[in-house]
Amino acid sequence: MMGFLFRRLLQSVLVVAVMSALVFFGVFVIGNPADILIDPEATQLERLEAIRTLGLDQSVWVQYGHFVSNALRGEMGRSFVYNQPALELILERLPATLELATTALLLALLLGVPLGLWAGARPKSLPGRAIQTGAILGVSFPSFWQGLMLVLVFSVLLGWLPSSGRGNGPLWSWDRFSHLILPALNLALFKISLVTRLTANAMREALTMDYIDYARSKGVASTRILAVHALKNVMVPVLTVTGMEFGGLIAFAVVTETVFAWPGMGKLIVDSIAVLDRPVIVAYLMVVVVIFITINLVVDLLYSALDPRVRLDQAR
């Protein structure tokens, strides 16, 4: 176990190093930062001076070295727009995004798993077919348009729920909750459909397995076969894939946060891309990479807890 964690930690450091290189060369080297960073009205002398202070006259490798040593000290540069440390900007907005993504993940599991189980156990029945077709349509919704339609119906026409912002007060207050409902639903719909399809397929697959027939041959009640024999096997892929999909939720929060003016880091990154606020883009990417690596680790631990055949010590 400790050996596994140690190896994974090393691997993670490697991935972060590779990603930092990709991000650096992708964002810093392609295109000329000088054109964006320096006032176009500046004289040639001021220009050269600025290039020197920014370190842009150095070789690529020296610049990358600076970037890495700064990053290790937690410095990702200052945002051009907000004139504030970029990492600080991101971390300020991280809790709002996590709140949204976690709620959506819970919704996806709470609705998707039971629906998928039903559809998988009864794929030919009318409700089974309806759930499967609904799940396919669910992944076909343009997420932003679906958000707009939620606003149209629940905010504009019915006037029940607010259309933007995160609300005020403590986390459990009605104001905060009412602001969370529509964005969370918007973000969750795609994942609910995904989890439903995944669960249904895993269930159908499980029901063709030998161990199902074997349990039948023992006279075990079919409710127990479904709820224990099939479900325990189904949950292995469902929970691991859903865990991985948490990263997707954070990515898609970009869209939801834009539609609902939710003050998370997704909204920040879209705005930053529009004005090419590079330090913020880089800081966002590095934060996201770290989140993804953490998720992967958690999923691997979860996987070994669910499937007794998986031994972490022997894993790659």
């Binding site: 707009l148 027939d213 074997y214 990515a251 970009v254 539609v259 499937d307 007794p308």
Partner: protein, 639 residues
């Protein structure tokens, strides 16, 4: 896919079994037509700024416009007809999605096929790259790429290709891998055909079905992704609006209630992506026949009904299992397949009956049919299975459930797949007890441990807490036997349970089973292809060929003087029956599966005694005594 003469007609028949999929295909066709002929269908050219009437700005659908014109789906802020904008936007969305999808297909498939073909390190490296790419959400990668590349039609298509090639590569590799070592590929290698020709000509056609499914789904997701990026303002420029940009343009008027500017383009997008996904899903089902079969477990919550009063026959106690004329038919595309054909047999208390035959003879299917466990597409078409005088064939699943594991149990061929990998041995044993008896969990555990000890498993208490993968193959098979005997059933069926074990363990298990059967007074059927096992374990034997029992009787008599040429052939092909150093004798030909009913002898193609009479209905030849009856199904019996 079957080798039908009209593959398309057959495909369509199967496809059309889902009405939803047919509607989706029709919608998709309509949208494709609408997009293709947009310039002829659209009431106006939405990009011809001179033709726009600014005074008609934001006219509701069919509402009175200032200029007197009517707009079926309303007009936007510039007075542009929304329907026309949708048709042109559809064109743009489809163009982007198809271009990106097809190029990504070409790139990904090339990489995937190459990777499978080369194997080794190249393969490992490429697949790591694919894994890495797939672990990042496409939206995020596309967002960053566009931040670097900038706006524009070419840039967005490039970004979509970069984020979409990976699933094609993975699918192509997975589909190609089993093909790479097929004979035709080896032949191509020997003939030194150029690499690309080998890959394209030989591999691609075999890998196409799963790739087509991925293509439809990837085109759908490319369209969604493009519209999302355009909505976020980093996709297409405003001069070439796709559906995403139309929705974005209308979104600012949503709060005023001018819903139509955003609603209709979004609906069009939903229809397009939804129909693509539904068609893709149907194709996936079509190409994966595995999903078409399977069990339908009744979701019953009611308690099992009380036992029916048995109409006991005179010898019901002596022969706890009697099978009369049992037939199982599998419905295949080529016609009905008679897997079990008019099988009759019976077993006495304390007797072990050997059910012998080659693979595919129907012996395992007979055991499953006795248990009432024939899954679709198979079904029992005739016959009775009398267990203690009660017919199991006529029973419903809930009634059967009360019998299975209690009065009759089945030991599966392969305990590795039969035992549930994620449940402990203990719970897989106790559930069989709890299913039939009201006992505490401690009592059930105790019972399980005692039964494990009886089948020769050391330290049974520890085993109960273990998972199947922690036991050896022999241990797992003993566990399976222990589970079958837990409730002391009157009848036990064993489906080749020792085939996968080595000889010493096999003989240990056989000896233990024999002892238990005698002590418990069980009636047992031991399914096997091994006449050696039959000789050592059984008192009577039934030989099966192509679904029929061709000979049965007391084991020593049948083995000493077989009446059916097939039994003779089986005995002769035993290595022990041959002279050392001589070529092994064997039955010529192979068991062929038969579709449709054939009244004649199934063995006649391989039989040296066969003549034209053998194509006519075969008589049952009765031999032996009333005490020890023997029979053979043959025109020309050897005895």
């Amino acid at each position: 896919m079957s080798a039908s003469s009209k593959p398309f007609a057959e495909f369509w028949r199967e496809y059309a079994r889902s009405p939803v999929a047919v509607v989706a295909l029709a919608v998709l066709m309509l949208l494709l037509l609408g997009a293709s002929f947009a310039p002829y269908l659209a009431p106006q050219n939405p990009y011809d700024l001179a033709s726009l009437r600014l005074e008609d700005s934001r006219t509701p659908p069919l509402g009175g416009a200032a200029s007197g014109a009517t707009y079926l789906l309303g007009s936007d802020v510039l007075g542009r007809d929304v329907l026309s904008a949708i048709l042109y936007g559809l064109r743009m969305s489809l163009m982007v999605g198809l271009t990106a999808g097809i190029v990504a297909f070409a790139v990904g498939v090339s990489v995937g096929l190459f990777s499978a073909y080369r194997g080794g390190r190249v393969d490992a490296l490429l697949m790591r790259l694919v894994d890495l790419q797939l672990s990042f959400p496409t939206l995020l990668v596309a967002l960053i790429l566009l931040a670097v590349l900038g706006k524009g039609l070419d840039k967005i298509v490039l970004a979509l290709i970069i984020v979409q090639w990976a699933p094609f590569a993975r699918t192509a590799r997975a589909a190609a891998l089993p093909q790479v070592h097929q004979e035709y590929m080896d032949a191509a290698r020997v003939l030194r055909l150029p690499l690309w020709r080998q890959l394209l000509k030989h591999l691609l056609p075999n890998c196409l079905p799963p790739l087509l499914v991925v293509l439809t789904i990837q085109v759908a997701s490319a369209i969604l992704l493009e519209s999302t990026l355009s909505y976020l303002g980093i996709g297409l420029p405003i001069s070439e609006p796709s559906l995403g940009l139309l929705i974005a343009n209308g979104s600012q008027f949503l709060l005023n209630g001018d819903y139509w500017i955003s609603l209709y383009p979004g609906l069009a997008l939903l229809l397009l992506v939804g129909s693509l996904n539904l068609v893709g899903d149907r194709l996936r089902e079509y190409f994966n026949p595995r999903l078409r079969k399977g069990v339908m477990l009744p979701l019953d919550l009611a308690p099992a009904p009380r036992e029916r009063q048995a109409s006991r026959g005179s010898d019901a106690d002596d022969r706890p299992l009697r099978v009369e004329g049992l037939s199982v038919v599998f419905d295949t595309p080529a016609g009905p397949l008679h897997a079990v054909d008019d099988v009759s047999l019976s077993v006495r208390r304390g007797e072990v009956l050997g059910l012998v035959g080659e693979s595919g003879s129907g012996k395992s299917m007979t055991a499953r049919a006795i248990m009432g466990m024939i899954n679709a597409p198979g079904r029992v078409t005739a016959g009775q299975v009398l267990l203690q005088g009660v017919d199991l064939v006529a029973m419903g699943e809930t009634e059967l459930q009360a019998r299975r594991g209690k009065d009759i149990s089945l030991i599966f061929q392969d305990p590795t797949t039969a035992l549930n990998p994620v449940l402990r041995i203990g719970s897989q044993m106790t559930e069989a007890v709890h299913a039939h008896r009201r006992v505490s969990d401690a009592q059930a555990q105790e019972l399980a441990a005692r039964m494990l000890a009886r089948v020769g498993i050391p330290s049974p208490q520890e085993r109960l807490a273990q998972y199947p993968h922690q036991l050896s193959g022999g241990m797992r098979q003993r566990v399976a036997i222990a589970i079958a005997l837990l409730n002391r059933p009157g009848v036990v069926l064993a489906d080749e349970p020792t085939t996968a074990l080595d000889v010493t363990i096999q003989s240990q298990i056989l000896a233990e089973f024999q002892g238990l059967a005698r002590e418990e007074g069980m009636a047992a059927i031991w399914v096997t292809h091994d006449l050696g096992v039959v000789e050592g374990l059984t008192q009577s034997v039934a030989v099966m060929y192509r679904g029929r029992i061709v000979e049965q009787g007391p084991t020593h008599e049948v083995l000493a003087a077989p009446a059916h040429p097939y039994t003779r052939g089986l005995l002769d092909s035993l290595p022990a029956a041959n002279t050392p150093g001589q070529r092994l004798r064997q039955i010529p030909g192979m068991v062929t599966s038969k579709v449709g009913k054939d009244p004649g002898c199934g063995f006649r193609d391989r039989c040296s005694r066969a003549d034209e009479r053998c194509a006519t209905p075969v008589p049952v030849v009765r031999l032996g005594t009333a005490d020890a009856p023997r029979s053979a199904l043959c025109h020309h019996p050897l005895v």
